[in-house]
């Protein structure tokens, strides 16, 4: 059984790392988590974002959830909002697609056009 005392160890380690971190990227990832999103598989998508961001040590990107975005047939839907407030809406997301969105959009600033709502609604 794990104990709460282990958290003290995690706390110490994290404090050391925190002082090494720089620049505030400040991008936001918002996952649609209403009934429609959850049923379509939004939870694994959100988990994939957390995993992928951690793998690349992108600690300043926040991942949050929201209610129904309004296009239930295209769920799971993810919005990526950059520092200037520009919003990109990705639809029919999967954990596999997440890896590419993180690498191309969040790291390199190139929107993955083929996953966006504009492309899906054509």
């Amino acid at each position: 059984m794990k104990s709460l005392a282990e958290l003290e160890e995690i706390r110490k380690k994290t404090l050391e790392q925190m002082s090494l971190r720089k620049t505030n990227n400040g991008m936001r990832v918002v996952v649609g988590m209403a009934t429609c999103g959850i049923a379509a598989g939004a939870r694994p998508v959100m988990t994939a974002f957390i995993e992928e961001l951690n793998k690349r040590n992108l600690r300043d990107v926040t991942v949050t959830m929201t209610g129904c975005i309004g296009v239930c047939k295209l769920e799971p839907i993810v919005e990526v909002i950059d520092v200037d407030g520009n919003k990109t809406t990705y639809v029919k997301m999967t954990p596999e697609k997440v890896a590419r969105v993180v690498a191309e959009h969040i790291v390199n600033g190139r929107v993955c056009l083929d996953y966006t709502i504009g492309e899906a609604e054509k």
């Binding site: 995690i10 706390r11 380690k13 994290t14 009934t35 600690r59 959830m65 209610g67």
Partner: protein, 188 residues
């Protein structure tokens, strides 16, 4: 919904929309009585009495974008499918409690699913809310409270990856101890 953890996640969204900041979740599996009870209680703004009457109807919803709301009706269907029932108690400006029951051995009872992942995702997205999780099999019980974690980690945010990982493992070990062999999908 494929499993109970997804239903749970969905129902908690209602509590979040009701501006709750404390959410209590309890799962009690009584193997002898062959019943699993899931309770979700919040301190949100509560539900109006006349709205509560038809709350399990898919055409009852508070949202403005359309006239359907599937969350509670889907959970009721899943519960009824396994000879269980769903009840909601609510008092305006005090909070809401939802209780869903399931016959454990029923062939149509949904499996528990990844409960730890549901908790971690909810905590990650709502770091300022307090969550409490109780698991019980009538003999033993397991308790998890975000407030205790926060007291322990002090200045580190609960959304820190390592902390979330610890929470996931902690809850998973609780599930194994409490529900192992009690719910047939979880090995002891």
């Amino acid at each position: 919904m494929r499993d109970l953890s997804l239903h749970l996640m969905d129902i908690v969204q209602n509590s979040i929309s009701a501006k709750a900041d404390k959410i209590y979740i309890s799962l009690t599996a009584d193997k002898q009585a062959d019943i699993l009870i899931m309770i979700i209680a919040d301190n949100g703004e509560g539900i109006e009495e006349n709205f509560l009457k038809n709350i399990t109807s898919p055409f009852t919803t508070t949202r403005k974008t359309r006239r359907v709301g599937m969350g509670i009706s889907l959970l009721k269907a899943s519960s009824n499918m396994a000879e269980g029932d769903l009840k909601i108690y609510s008092k305006k400006s005090e909070g809401t409690t939802l209780e869903a029951s399931f016959k454990i051995s029923h062939i149509d009872r949904l499996p528990l699913g990844d409960l730890a992942e549901t908790m971690v995702t909810l905590i990650m997205a709502n770091p300022d809310m307090e969550f409490e999780l109780d698991l019980s099999n009538k003999k033993d019980c397991f308790k998890f409270k975000t407030i205790e974690v926060k007291e322990q980690i002090k200045d580190i945010p609960i959304t820190q990856y390592e902390v979330l990982n610890w929470i996931r493992e902690y809850i998973n070990s609780g599930i194994k101890i409490i529900f192992g062999g009690v719910l047939n999908e979880i090995l002891s």
